[in-house]
Subunit: 586 residues, 2 copies
């Protein structure tokens, strides 16, 4: 019997999510989540997106958070439903994306340990799996609901943990019998949020200013943490009074217009030459929200910006304290938005016009594409990315998958401020871009969304073409077909005497034309460099379009850093002496 | 410099696997596993199968073990490669299938905790993920190699654990830099296998015989443990002197010819009426290698074979000791093969001809299909299964996916002894049958392999159609198209007032005809009952064939047990009194 103010636990969960601005929940139904999913029939303010494999649900959610919603949620059934989420959850964990994953678990009385004697039995309930422990290494909080009355406290706590400090995913496992139980939310315990204070700030800001004053060749690094902390407005205020070179990591690549008079390029193992050189010749690095991973610093962090003082702002003290060779001169363990707000009160001006001018001049030296002269009969990937970059306006979201194509995209796409560009950088699963593009498009109905794939990578979640088709999402699905894991081929060429085991023509592709037909999506083929100009019209279509781009198997990523070298020593190597001299005279 | 007797660690791993009769390793290449994969170029006795998503690799391996090889292995790269394996590994864990999963991990010097300061950093190396802890809840042993010199000991230990006692999967995480190191296997430490003894056996066998002597209505249950312990030969010897009713669980369904004069049917929630009734009226249950899960006993185990003594043989003492309502009168915690060998020395005869005859008579009462009279315009799934069963000869392997179609298959397929039939019963992931069929076919070149799917379930690993096509495997891929998760619809009809949230026409399918074309596989469509006879010719084809079978959305699983009822009370309910009387007069 329903008492006054009582609602079903599942209904409470949905209204909690809706209050956190979650309007779409990607999910796949199954027995153990069925009462939770049924709650959607009673709440018209929040919808589900029925996917074809839960792996995509977690990737859709990840991209949903990244492309404007700020928070996201998935639901999955027990056992395989839950374990299918894990690769996508890991994307959110390593890239600090806040999201909540709600798994249905078998009824409490069917669980391991409900009877003491069943604690060590492999499985009691059908499809019972210990997802809470499996997810622990890739979530900030992973918890199985013990009593229905905990739901309010646990949702609030999980949300707080997920969105506070360094953000990340959380998982809540809800037994099937709890999902339909009645609760009175007004009578339930709440979670009390700890207060957040900025400690020792004045002293740190004094040091910060002193480093800046002494520096002749400062460089700012824009990292993904700027997005995670919603610091873009404060950053723009800060940058208004700043005339020094600016570089970005891959995660921070869309934080500045690439035509900005201070933007040199993105840095790292696959970075732009000019940006890498500028960083290596700087005397001060101001890193905003980057963990300065070895993909940024090179395999030996001690070779990174060797002669520069380093100021690093990172919310994650573990990242700040790691001792992998990079000496940090000033560690600022604060929420970046809070810190920038404080800094902006001080009206700090940083102007190094000569150094800025010389840095920017490098861009002319290394014009795109480095190896344009060696054009093949098929499509040159750099030319293609260049044209794609030309035709996309600022209301575009570009999502890269994993492989050579991602590297080509990051190396030569020129961001117009307002565009959103990302991939699941830290986890880098193949098969991310297609589901991610669904997450981006459902929350950005009017934007152009581009899923930028390789022929190998798109196959991992190819089933979601149906989800996209069913929802009439006008996503542009680009397949850079270089015939079998090009980035692996390049590795095998370099380190394994060109033995292409399990790559290249050993793998193979379906016929993408017929595949498009099977999913009722238009198909386009870009066969040679002269065809590249067709892309404009295709992008302007208001329907979903598959665009297969034919690329030579052996098309390389150029430039690229070999292991252990300093990041200005990109291969193919060039003589850096004269450039260093040029920059050193600032 | 290579010294005498030294070989590369990766080469050692491959020859170890080959010695365990592993001839094919499903894998997907990636940076962190690339040195391991390269070893295949130097060993022609073992091959890799390049898959399109690691999830399938683990399912291929699982089925490879089940369908004759006895042992299997996968390889995957760090991070998403490894986490993609998990759903497939869980299949092996819950169904006791021995397999080994080798993950590449990032170089040791790029790992969390290599520098003490990085212990709590989310990720150090690119795509680093703590797969060892993630896999622990679904493996018997999960270990990251600490030193290259451990490799021999760890492989031997992992294999021993995997294949001894109740079998299951193991995972070994091998850092990239170890993969190419040189070792001298002759100088490495070995694992000493503990000795295995059968304790207290005589006393137990005395009790066993005494229970049998007193019983008037004994029933034998054949469970999947008979296969896991390779007891089929000993079982056949045992059964030669046994004339009593025999029933099977789903896992044990192919252990006896269904035309055997003693075989009543399979039992459980979706079991055959006659078999369920016979079990419920027995006075002795002899359970061979079944964990007597609630899918077998019904949701309330205390209602299962209430008036019968129970002798249960299970290698897993945790399963034997679970107290969920089932009272066990004689627990035999032995390896089934060892125990049957002993029992067979005693020349035990069990004959209850009257009881056997009456039990078998029940089969005529409940003839297939129960609801033949209500045939729809589209294909009746039971008629289809019946015909499939007619046309397949004993050299066939039939693999079910998850959903209504699996239930239809298990309810009405009549096994010819020699056929192999299975699904991943305990984990039951959608998307299992297609990769599993690849695993079955590569080790059984001359057998007919049938992947039996639903339209919803096949989508989860649809990408592997390309793997199948590339390898020219003549698999018959049946798609029972009942338009969106029929088993969920039936649940929603029963418990959720027919609200088909996230099921039925909310989900949708690609055009399977064009899909077949995209993967260069022949396509066939079975539209109505009169078309069913076409199946013979299609099955006889020596190429891969996709067979789409059009089924009404609302086609039900009949009969089916509602939660909590004794297993002879299958819905739709019938009057059991006269049958009980008939059986009780034995």
């Amino acid at each position: 019997m329903k008492k006054k103010n009582q609602i079903m636990l599942s209904d409470y969960v949905l209204s909690f999510l809706r209050n956190k601005n979650v309007k779409h929940v990607p999910l796949l139904i199954g027995g153990a989540i069925s009462f939770m999913v049924d709650a959607f029939s009673r709440n018209k303010k929040i919808k589900y997106i029925a996917v074809a494999n839960e792996q995509s649900a977690a990737m859709i959610a990840d991209a949903y958070s990244r492309s404007g919603a700020g928070y996201s949620c998935t639901m999955a059934t027990s056992g395989p439903g839950a374990t299918n989420l894990l690769t996508g959850i890991a994307c959110s964990y390593f890239d600090s994306i806040p999201s909540m994953h709600i798994c249905g678990q078998v009824n409490t009385y069917e669980q391991q340990g409900f009877h003491k004697s069943t604690k060590k039995v492999r499985q009691v309930g059908f499809q019972e799996t210990d997802i809470v422990n499996m997810a622990k290494p890739i979530t900030k909080f992973s918890y199985k609901l013990n009593r229905p009355e905990e739901i309010k406290y646990i949702l609030e706590k999980a949300y707080y943990i997920s969105t506070t400090g360094r953000p990340g995913p959380v998982l809540i496992d809800i037994p099937m019998n709890f999902q339909k139980m009645l609760i009175n939310p007004k009578k339930l315990r709440s979670f009390n949020q700890p207060k957040n204070k900025l400690l020792h700030l004045e002293n740190k800001i004094r040091k910060f200013k002193s480093f800046l004053q002494k520096s002749k060749k400062p460089v700012i690094i824009l990292g993904g943490g700027i997005k995670c902390s919603n610091s873009q407005n404060q950053l723009n205020i800060f940058l208004k009074k700043t005339q020094i070179p600016i570089v970005a990591t891959w995660s921070g690549v869309d934080l500045i217009d690439h035509k900005d008079y201070r933007y040199v390029g993105n840095i790292g193992v696959y970075g732009n030459r000019s940006a890498n050189i500028v960083v290596q010749n700087a005397d001060l690095i101001l890193s905003l929200g980057s963990r300065l991973d070895t993909r940024v610093t090179g395999g030996k962090p001690e070779t990174f910006a060797k002669n520069a003082k380093k100021i690093i702002i990172d919310i994650d003290n573990y990242e700040l304290s790691k001792q992998r060779g990079l000496k940090v001169d000033l560690k600022l363990n604060y929420n970046l938005n809070d810190l920038l707000k404080e800094l902006n009160k001080y009206n700090i001006k940083i102007t190094r016009n000569d150094w800025l001018k010389k840095s920017m001049n490098l861009n002319h030296l290394f014009k795109f594409p480095e190896f344009k002269k060696k054009l093949s009969k098929r499509v040159n990937p750099y030319l293609f990315v260049n044209e794609l970059s030309n035709v996309l306006n600022k209301n575009s979201i570009i999502i890269g998958d994993t492989g050579s194509h991602l590297t080509w995209l990051m190396q030569d796409f020129k961001i117009k401020y307002g565009q959103i560009m990302f991939s699941a950088f830290g986890n880098s699963p193949m098969g991310y871009a297609l589901p991610a593009s669904i997450g981006a498009q459902i929350i950005n109905k009017k934007k152009k969304v581009i899923a930028f794939n390789g022929d190998g990578s798109i196959q991992l979640n190819i089933q979601e073409l149906q989800t996209l088709s069913k929802l009439n999402l006008p996503i542009k699905i680009i397949i850079m077909n270089n015939h079998g894991y090009g980035i692996i081929q390049q590795f095998q060429d370099l380190y394994l005497n060109k033995r292409h085991e399990a790559s290249n023509r050993v793998v193979s592709n379906p016929n993408f034309k017929f595949l498009s037909k099977a999913f009722k999506i238009n198909y386009n083929f870009i066969k040679k460099n002269n065809d590249i100009k067709k892309i404009k019209k295709i992008i302007n279509s208001n329907k979903a379009e598959i665009i297969e781009v034919d690329i030579e198997d052996k098309e390389k990523i150029i430039p690229k850093l070999e292991f252990g070298k300093p990041i200005d020593n990109l291969s193919p190597q060039i003589n850096l002496n004269s450039i260093k001299n040029y920059l050193s005279t600032s």
